[in-house]
């Protein structure tokens, strides 16, 4: 399951991508929170994390707010989920971004669980890493 954090984050960034098209400056956390029914303070944390990873851009002061940090075509859904929920892999020995050996594992090469989850991981990353925010907004999902 996606955490609420990741879900809120995706809702927010999809909203921002839609607004982006209208070319009307940045969106405030408050209005974003209200529109998407997300607890404001929680959303702050989420947006900040996305900004620190370069996914979003923020502007301080009056008339400030959030906007996309790069083109919607350059932001993948997988990236966003990884930032907010951590690795996509079902077992840590499959993660490219955060690999480490499983404690209980005797032998990675013969591990049956790994073999199965490898397939799952491959197909999910194929979808999530190749579907961009721009695709999402268009309702187009690759694979």
């Amino acid at each position: 399951m996606l955490s609420k954090k990741a879900k809120y984050g995706l809702q927010a960034i999809i909203f921002l991508a839609k607004e982006e098209k209208k070319k009307q400056g940045p969106i405030q956390i408050a209005s974003l929170a209200k529109n998407e029914k997300i607890p404001k303070k929680f959303l702050e944390i989420i947006l900040l994390e996305l900004r620190k990873q370069g996914i979003l851009h923020s502007k301080l002061g009056a008339g400030g707010g959030y906007s996309l940090g790069k083109a919607a075509e350059k932001i993948s859904i997988g990236q966003v989920v990884r930032i907010l929920d951590g690795p996509l892999a079902q077992v840590s020995c499959l993660s490219k971004t955060a690999y480490h050996k499983c404690d209980e594992c005797k032998d990675e090469k013969t591990c049956e669980i790994r073999k199965i989850m490898k397939k799952v991981h491959e197909t999910t990353t194929r979808i999530l890493d190749r579907t961009t925010l721009a695709d999402a907004v268009k309702g187009k999902v690759n694979f």
Copy 2:
């Protein structure tokens, strides 16, 4: 990520499936725990859950222990994971076994997150529900 519970459960049931072939009665929790390096008391809980769902069979008393509750060909990996970790779906509105509307969701039909996760869900369930314990032991993964 899979929880340790699901991982331990899969390790245990794969071990049982392998032992099954040797046709030497049931396996005790203690020896299972030792072999797979799983905390015994935690394993008790896990095996009990799998037994209650008909996946495993247990025998009380001396010479007792655990064995598969049905043919390895009839047990899917997806079933085991669902019992131990809950729904496979990334969002509850996609779960077949535990559907419920997402709190924040305005409209399920147009939800972009749902659309993307539907693909992910379809591919993961295709793999996990069609790969049986027998396949796993053979090292064969479908799709």
